[in-house]
Every structure is written in C-alpha cells, then in structure tokens.
C-alpha cells in the first residue's frame, strides 16, 4: 500500500510536470524569434514590392 501510494504520487507529479514542460516547449518552438524575424522580413519584402514604406522603419520597441 505504502509503495503503491508513493508510485502513484510520483507518477502523477511526473505527469503534471512533464505535461506542463512539454506544452511550454511546444509553445516556445512554435513562436520562435527566427519565425518572427522571417515574418518581419516577408512583410518588408511585400511592402517593397507594393511600393509602400517599410513597416518596420524605424524599428519598433515592441507590441502588446
């Protein structure tokens, strides 16, 4: 009984922590800095082709 409780609690703790960290890592890898930069470059390129001003000029401090 004692061992079983230990195993169950350990398993649950590992599952919760594992789930949280996997979800966090998945979120981080789907919103990487590189992706943001390449997106920004795409926008700049599009603006150039459309003869519009560079949307990232001057560089913005950030967005909400």
């Amino acid at each position: 009984m004692h061992k079983a409780v230990t195993l169950v609690v350990t398993g649950l703790t590992a599952a919760v922590l594992g789930m949280l960290s996997l979800a966090g890592l998945a979120a981080a890898t789907t919103a990487t800095e590189e992706e943001a930069v390449s997106k920004a470059e795409e926008l700049v390129e599009k603006a150039k082709q459309a003869n519009e001003p560079d949307p990232y000029t001057p560089a913005i401090y950030g967005s909400r």
Binding site: T13, L17, M19, S21, L25, A28, Y56, P58, A59, I60
Partner: protein
C-alpha cells in the same frame, strides 16, 4: 550547515548556467534595452544627461568606469550571471526554515519567475540587479530590526547595487523605509533610510538638472500597462509575477491555458505559507512585508484599472517624475519575493503533513514543488529558448569611434531617426541604438518609442527640434549637429536630400559617417548643474565606501577572517 550552503550555491550556479547558457559563446548579447559595448566612454551624457531623462543614472557611469578596467563583454556576464546567481542564493537564505530542500525551492523559484524572464528578455539588466539585491536587502533590514551589529552597513551594501537605476533605487528606498523603523531603535533605521536616500541622490539630482522637464507622454500609460498573457487577463498575469507590456519579452509558455492554474496553486501554497512566515518572523514584520508586496502589486496594476489609469495619465503628463510609474510591472519585485518565500514555506507545511504518513511521498511533493516553476516556463532555459545570443559588433563601429575620438567636439545625429534598431548582424533582434554608448561623443538618437502602432513621444527637447526640421524636409546640415551617422541596417532608409551639404568621412557596410562643414568643433562644456550630479555621485560612493569600511574593516585590521557569528558574539560580550 556548510554543506547546505554549498548545496544552495551549487543549485543556484546550475540554474544560472541553464538560464544563461548562450553567454558561454563570445560576443555581446544585444536585446531591447540591453546594450554593452567593448569600452564605454565616460561622457557627460552618460553621467548626467543634459536633455534626456536619467533612466540609466548612475548605471551608465558605473559601466563606463568598469569598462575602463575590463571589456564590456566581461561586465555583461558578471552583471547577468551575478544577478541570477545572487537572486537564487539570496532567496534561499532569506526563507526562515531549517530545511535545505525548502531553501532550494525558494532559490529555484526566485530565479525562475516570469518577472525575471520578462525583464531579462527586454534587456533591463539594471532592474535584475535590483531584483537580485532585494532578498539580501530584506535580510539585512531584518537584522537591523533585530539590533545586530553592522546591520546598517549591510543594508547600505545591499541597497547600493539596487540603486543603479531609478526604479531599483525607489524599490530599495521603499523596502528600507517601510521595514526598518522600529520603536526604540530609531537611530539605526534613520541612518539606513538616510543612507539609501543618498544612494538615490545621483538620479534625483540628474532629474532635477536636465532640460527634459520631467513629465512624459501620457500615451505611455496604455502602451506600457500590464498585459494579459493568456485567457486570465493582466491581473492574473501579475499575480504570477508576469504581465510585462511587451509580447516580444514574454516567454511563449506564459500564453498556455494551464498557466493561471499553476498561479492558483502557487497562491494557495503562499497563503498556507504566510502563517508560517508570521510565526517565524513576527506579525509586525510579516504584515510590513505584505504591505510592501501589496504596494508593488498595486503600482503594477495601476495602468490596467480604468479609473486609476486616468489618474496615472494625468500624473505622468503633469507631475515631474511620475513617468516612472507608467511601466508599473517593474515594481512587482517585492511581491515576487514574498510570493516565493511564502510558497516555499507553504510547501514546507504541506511536506511536513505528508511526511507523517509517507516520507517518500513527501520527498516527491517537495521535488515537484521545486520543479513546478521550471516545468511551467521551460522556455526561460538556454537564454529564453535562444532569444539571448551573443554577437560581435561589425568593425565599422570601431572605425567610426576612432574617427570621432580623433576629431572631438560636436553632436552626432544618428539616422534614420529611431531609438531602436534591428541589425542584420544581430539576427534582426531589436536593440536600443548602441551609438550613445559606443561612440565618444554626444549622440542624438530619437527617443520616440513605438509600441505597436502607438508612438510615445520622448522628452528630449533637442530631438523634438531635429524631428521637426527633418520632418519638414530640411537637410541634416541645418540641425546644427557636427556629425551624422547613418546606420545602414536596411537600405534606402535615409533620403539622400537629408544628407545634402555633408562630407562623407567613412562609408562602411553598416555605418556611414558624415561631417557637417558648417559646424566647427566645439569643446564639451559642462554646465555647473551637471557638477551637482557628480557631487551626488561622489556622496553615493562615499556612502558605499563607509559601509564597506564598517562591514569589513574589523576583519582586515585583525588580519583574520573570523566568522560573522564570532564577531557578533564579541559585540554582545
């Protein structure tokens, strides 16, 4: 005891290494407000800005002095590494407990908060220094309240690094003036409060003598208000110590729907731990810590509450210095510290209860609580999942700095007009223009902050005049600057007509320097008001030296390193 302390330092070192791993590569991490350069000149504009607000006073002066001795990349690593390491150790040592595991929990928890992650990712390392100093400061103030010998010196030595930025200085002043006073022990607390006030003197005097006024654009209140990171909104984000205004400085994991539940678990543990804190310190101390954390939380939440935001907008536009409150999330540091300490004590209560039934399960629960902050925000590891990465400055920067050093005098105008740049050599990461810190001259960089599609106007009157002239299509030569630096990180950004009448001095791949022949070199004359800032700096340095002397002179004079306990015993004998 020694083993426990070594374990604490060891765990703190591991956490620091995990968070800052990319800094093992050579170069400079340049991201948002984090700018380090190889050798920062000690210019008047860095010591006492004449036309801007003193947001980096005395931090810039300290870095300028340090980089005369060691390269900027070393200073950057010491500052960041020291901040994370000492934050962890400080929190671990602050918790009133006998259990090593609980101390480790506090250490890991305080070094892995969303607050630390977000301020690191926006590059505000000066604020992180304050965050790291905070647990040491609280501990020193508690010693002062307890009447320990040398506690005033400890308070001042812990407050000094915090006061390298105005926000940090204010937080330190708030901590000392709220926690230190105790009936019957006025002398020590008065000396400590006055001492910390003197440590704040450099930025206060710089704010008084600058031509920038002191009021700010109220548009900044909405732009820099705390931001909701997921479905639970900004207050829940603040409750979890996150909620910075910038989406780019927020770890992606903070957007997960489960995060508010993790915050709820932490708050429940903290509520359970507060009772233990009350018993182990005193009702008075715990109540004051609660007030301190509550004030920090309220300041952080000010910009999000409709009525309060209106008042803040009015204050920022009308009251000099109120602009400090517009990015209120900065003031969450005392809340973060109390939360972490109470969570650790709450975990101790839980573990003690579980231990009576099953020791192994208790160990698993403690380990789980220790790893919870890491599991909930794994993307702080490895420099925020690779967001902090060192790069090298192109050789152009050194060449331009050399040209300006060889022909000193006159202002440098940085074009295109923008305070922040996204250089290709920095992988497109946005960073505050390094020119004012790299170049040995007064560099005029636009101080308008663009947050999304909102432009928050800066305070510098000289820049306002230049923006107006260039906006009217006048050439840069008419602005009265002697040099124009064109940063060619994106092509075709500067209208050739703007450069009419200027002589090219250097044409590099990334930088072009032009001289304005209409403006002769002029020596930098320091207005007497700027000397007042130097005097304030000197007073702050004297306070630190006096505290160092008081703290360590006895040890040095006796020629041995007796333990603090022995020193205290001698004092009481």
């Amino acid at each position: 005891m020694v083993r426990d302390r070594l374990l604490l330092y060891g765990v703190a070192a591991v956490v620091t290494a995990i968070v800052l791993a990319p800094l093992a590569a050579p170069g400079y991490v340049l991201r948002y407000d984090m700018v380090f350069v190889p050798r920062q000149p000690l210019t008047w504009d860095l010591v006492a800005p004449a036309q801007g607000l003193p947001r980096a006073v005395p931090m810039d002066a300290v870095v300028s002095v340090l980089t005369q001795l060691v390269p900027g990349w070393v200073v950057q690593r010491i500052a960041l590494g020291g901040a994370v390491l000492l934050a962890a150790v400080g929190a671990g040592r602050l918790v009133p407990t006998e259990r090593a595991g609980v101390r480790l929990l506090a250490a890991v928890g305080y070094a892995w908060t969303p607050y630390l992650a977000e301020r690191l990712l926006i590059g505000q390392w000066g604020l992180l220094v304050c965050y790291a100093a905070l647990p040491w400061l609280v501990r020193a103030v508690l010693e002062l309240r307890a009447g320990r010998a040398g506690a005033v010196a400890r308070v001042l030595l812990a407050a000094a690094p915090a006061a390298i930025t105005p926000t940090g200085g204010l937080i330190a002043f708030g901590v000392v003036s709220l926690l230190a006073p105790r009936r019957g022990r006025w002398r020590g607390s008065t000396v400590a409060v006055v001492g910390v006030a003197l440590l704040n003197a450099p930025w206060v005097t710089a704010a008084l003598v600058t031509d920038a006024g002191g009021t700010s654009d109220p548009a900044g209140v909405a732009a820099f208000a705390a931001r909701g990171e997921n479905w639970a909104g900004p207050l829940a984000a603040l409750a979890g110590t996150g909620g910075i205004w910038s989406a780019q400085a927020t770890p992606a994991s903070r957007g997960l729907p489960l995060v508010p539940l993790v915050t709820l678990v932490l708050l429940a543990l903290a509520a359970a731990g507060f009772g233990l804190l009350r018993r182990r310190t005193s009702p008075d101390v715990s109540a004051r810590l609660l007030v301190l954390a509550g004030v920090g939380f309220l300041l952080a939440a000010l910009g999000t509450a409709p009525g309060a935001a209106d008042v803040l907008r009015w204050a920022v536009a009308q009251l000099p210095g109120a602009g400090l409150l517009r990015d209120g999330q900065k003031f969450l540091a005392p809340y973060a510290l109390l939360l972490v300490v109470c969570v650790a004590l709450g975990a101790e209560r839980l573990v003690t209860r579980v231990e009576r039934m099953n020791r192994e399960v208790a160990g698993v629960v403690l380990g789980g609580a220790l790893l919870l902050p890491v599991a909930a925000m794994p993307d702080l590891a490895f420099g925020g999942a690779g967001r902090l990465w060192p790069v090298s400055y192109p050789a152009d920067w050194q060449v331009v700095a050399g040209r300006l050093a060889a022909d000193p005098g006159g202002e440098v105008l940085a074009l295109p007009l923008s305070g922040y740049r996204a250089y290709p050599w920095n992988d497109g990461r946005t960073v505050l223009d390094p020119a004012p810190r790299y170049l040995p001259a007064t560099v005029l960089v636009d101080d308008t902050l663009r947050v999304g599609d909102v432009a928050v106007t800066g305070e510098n009157p000289r820049l306002r005049e230049i923006r107006h002239l260039l906006g009217a299509g006048r050439p840069a030569a008419e602005t009265g600057v002697r040099w124009v630096l064109v940063q060619r990180h994106r092509v075709d950004q500067v209208d050739p007509a703007t450069l009419t009448g200027l002589e090219p001095v250097h044409q590099g791949a990334f930088l072009a320097l032009y001289r304005n022949p209409a403006v002769p070199p002029s020596p930098v004359l320091a207005a007497p008001a700027r000397w007042v800032v130097v005097v304030a700096l000197a007073i702050a340095v004297v306070v630190v030296i006096a505290a160092l002397f008081r703290r360590y002179a006895g040890v040095l004079l006796r020629g041995n390193l007796r333990s603090e306990v022995q020193t205290l015993e001698d004092w009481h004998a």
